[in-house]
Every structure is written in structure tokens, then in C-alpha cells.
């Protein structure tokens, strides 16, 4: 009821807002228009899911991924928030990444437009920096682990490497 009353009295305002939205919408009419030219995404055909689907459901996708990661330990899948940032982050002329949550950058440009507020980036990095353990570093540190194992086991214990490769 309250809504109805507001609607009536706000008709005029709404009409004005509609006109504004139409003009603002023109900019983002095309799916993919928010993608920054300097981001990796600009060089890729598709988002991690069909773009139309991502537009409407990306937060469900991320939230699902959140629990998969925090409780299941699965963190390298395509829906990871770190992945969104990595692919969608824009770069300035000198090649420095620009925070995805800064004004006009990918995540915030659309959120500001749609009046969405979210606090994810209070904690989550907004540029790719210090990403999760990757294969190169794992390989680098792998031998440390083996040495450690052998040393910890002592000289007369069977070597860890031999014991475990069977």
C-alpha cells in the first residue's frame, strides 16, 4: 500500500528517472560494455559463464565459490573471486593495475550505476598481488620439503622420497 502511494506521487519523478536511465542505459546496453579495454577480459571472447548469465547471477556464482573454497579447500576454479579480479582488472598507461573497486573501474562502474554496495573488497585484494601459491613457486619449494623430510627422518631412517614414490 505504501508502495502504491509512493508510486502515484512519484510518477513524475519516475518518468524523469526513466528518461535518465534510458540515456545512461544506452552506454551499457550491450552486454560486455563494462569490460575495460585495458583488462585481460578485453582480449577474451567470453566470461567464465555466458555473459548474460553472469550479468544477472555473478554474485550467486561467487558466493557459491566462497563456501567451496573456505570449507572445501577448492580454490583454483574458474568462479574464484581472485579470478574475476585478475581478468577484469584494468591497467593504466604504465601497466599498473587499477583497483577494480575504484570509481569507474569494472566492478564499481556497474555497481554504482545499479546502486549496489558490497564490502567484499574491504578484505579481498582489488588488484592481482600476492596470488595464491602457483605451480612455479610450488616447484621451487618442493625440494625444500624433501630435504626437510630427509633431515627430519634422520640419517638411518628410510628416505622419504623412496618410501613415497612406490
Amino acid at each position: 500500500m505504501a508502495i502504491k502511494a509512493i508510486t502515484k506521487s512519484g510518477l513524475l519523478v519516475l518518468a524523469a528517472a526513466g528518461a535518465f536511465l534510458a540515456s545512461a542505459g544506452a552506454r551499457a546496453e550491450q552486454v560486455g560494455d563494462f569490460v575495460l579495454p585495458s583488462s585481460k577480459a578485453a582480449k577474451v571472447e567470453n566470461c567464465v559463464e555466458p555473459t548474460e548469465y553472469m550479468r544477472r547471477n555473478h554474485f550467486e556464482v561467487i558466493r557459491h565459490q566462497r563456501d567451496t573454497t573456505v570449507y572445501g579447500g577448492i580454490r583454483s576454479t574458474k568462479h574464484s573471486l581472485a579470478g574475476c579480479v585478475d581478468c577484469h582488472v584494468g591497467y593504466d598507461e604504465s601497466g599498473q593495475p587499477l583497483s577494480v573497486s575504484d570509481e569507474g573501474q569494472f566492478c564499481s562502474a556497474c555497481h554504482d550505476y545499479a546502486a549496489v554496495t558490497m564490502n567484499c573488497f574491504d578484505c579481498h585484494a582489488t588488484v592481482p598481488e600476492g596470488e595464491s601459491w602457483n605451480h612455479e613457486t610450488a616447484a621451487l619449494h618442493g625440494h625444500l620439503g624433501i630435504d626437510l623430510a630427509a633431515r627430519a627422518a634422520g640419517p638411518d631412517a628410510p628416505a622419504h622420497r623412496e618410501g613415497s614414490q612406490q
Binding site: 579447500g73 577448492i74 580454490r75 619449494h141
Partner: protein, 259 residues
């Protein structure tokens, strides 16, 4: 020690023994991942209780004045990126800044013997921090890691009160700089994750153990408590070890020798 505690422990030991028999074959591929680096792979299946991660810390090798593990932990998790808020009292900041590992120095008053050890989240099997959490944010992952789901943490700090090891920190200030692998922010409690981001990517090591190794001390052995042939269990077989506050019956994942 009370006999009933002994009973609980024995039961648990034989259970782990039995489970280890079953899991040994399954664990082997994980261990191979560790040795054959090229195949190190991020996980695609949810963690299970086939593994239980833990550490053995040999306090006799832990050097006085060395804080390599602490600074490695800080770098790994972006704790070194925090800075004292302008105008904050330095003493207050020192008390409140997040630390996941603390170097502790023990002195036996009778003998005068000094022992150094790093103290972090002990990843208890029966974690008091999980018992008291009103939102379920403080939880034990299937593979034994005791973590805070910071998406559901409301910052009440009950867990900090409950922890006998003073292992958790509360973030009082806005975090300006953070790493992708370790999100962190104001209003939540956090603590050692045993470098969960490494584990999940198939790398069986922690920043602290690596740093201690690099210093040549080798005081920290990280590994799987459930893998009878793994480096951790081998090390545990060789030296007598105990849990800090063993009397609480928490069955910690981090064990100490030489104390």
C-alpha cells in the same frame, strides 16, 4: 596425569592407527605430488579427513633471537603490510597488531634453562574456539585445520578468550593493503591457517617451516599426522614430544619436543 585422559588418548591413537592403514594407499599420491613437483596440482575435490595437518617443533633447534618464522609468516599472509594508524599509541599498536606466530621464551626458574619456541594456532582436534563461536565462523576443516570463516565472523572475540594459546588476533583497523592469497579486513578474528592456500594448491609446506629451514635451523617439520610414513610421523617417532597444555585434552596438531 589423570587416568581418564590417558584412556581418551589411547582410544584416539588406535583409531588413527586403523585409519592410517586404510588411508596409506590413498595418501601416497599426495606425497608423490610433493616430491614430483611438475605434477603439483590444485585440488578439485573437497578436503577430507584422510589427512590431518600438523607440525613438530623441536625447541632445541629453535634459536634465541631468531624470528625468521614470524617474518616469513607476516610476508606470506600480508601481515607486514599493516602499519600503525596515525596518532595511535605505539604500545597499544604493539599489543593489538595481528600476529599469527609469537616467539615465546620460557625460563625454568629452578634450573635457569631457557627454551625458545614459536607459538601459533595449535589446530586442536577439539578446539575450544569452535565450541564458543556463536555464528559457526570458527570451524575445523575436515583435514584438521582450525580456521575462521571471515564471511560469517561477527568479531565478538569469544574465540580469543577461549583459546589457551592466545593464538588469535582481532583486526581493529581498516586494512589498506592485502594480498590476493590472504584476504583480511577490519572487524574479524584471524589466526594461523597452516598456509592453507599452499596446501590447497598441492604444495605441502608452510612459510614458517621453509624459513626455518632456510636459516639452517630445521626446527619445524610440517606434515600429515595421518600418514604413518610421512616426514611428520617419522620425526614424531624419533623424538619424544608433547602438546602444550596436554592436560586440556585438546589433541593439538602442533607438537613440541624438548619442553
Amino acid at each position: 596425569m589423570k587416568p581418564d585422559k590417558e584412556k581418551i588418548d589411547n582410544g584416539r591413537r588406535s583409531f588413527i592407527g586403523a585409519a592410517a592403514g586404510v588411508s596409506a594407499a590413498v595418501v601416497a599420491p599426495g606425497v608423490v605430488l610433493h616430491t614430483v613437483d611438475a605434477t603439483a596440482a590444485p585440488r578439485t575435490e573437497p578436503v577430507t579427513d584422510l589427512h590431518r595437518w600438523g607440525m613438530l617443533i623441536d625447541t632445541s633447534k629453535c634459536a634465541d633471537g631468531c624470528s625468521a618464522c614470524v617474518s616469513a609468516c607476516d610476508r606470506e599472509n600480508g601481515l607486514n603490510l599493516q602499519s600503525k594508524p596515525l596518532g595511535d599509541d605505539p604500545l597499544k599498536w604493539d599489543n593489538q597488531r595481528a600476529v599469527w606466530i609469537r616467539k615465546v621464551k620460557l625460563q625454568d626458574n629452578t634450573t635457569g634453562r631457557i627454551t625458545n619456541l614459536p607459538l601459533m594456532c595449535q589446530h586442536c582436534e577439539n578446539p575450544p574456539c569452535v565450541d564458543v563461536c556463536p555464528t559457526g565462523a570458527s570451524f575445523k576443516r575436515a583435514d584438521g585445520l582450525v580456521l575462521v570463516d571471515r564471511h560469517t565472523c561477527i568479531g565478538c572475540r569469544y574465540c580469543m578468550m577461549a583459546c589457551p594459546y592466545k593464538a588469535r588476533s582481532f583486526i581493529h583497523e581498516k586494512v589498506d593493503q592485502k594480498l590476493t592469497r590472504a584476504p583480511r579486513g577490519k572487524g574479524c578474528v584471524e589466526s594461523c591457517t597452516l598456509c592453507v592456500h599452499r596446501l590447497d594448491e598441492g604444495d605441502i609446506s608452510t612459510a614458517c617451516a621453509d624459513a626455518c629451514n632456510a636459516e639452517g635451523h630445521q626446527a619445524i617439520v610440517f606434515g600429515d599426522l595421518n600418514d604413518p610414513d610421512g616426514p611428520l610421523r617419522q620425526a614424531l617417532r624419533q623424538v619424544p614430544s608433547r602438546q602444550i597444555r596436554q592436560d586440556l585434552g585438546l589433541n593439538t596438531g602442533v607438537r613440541y619436543s624438548g619442553i
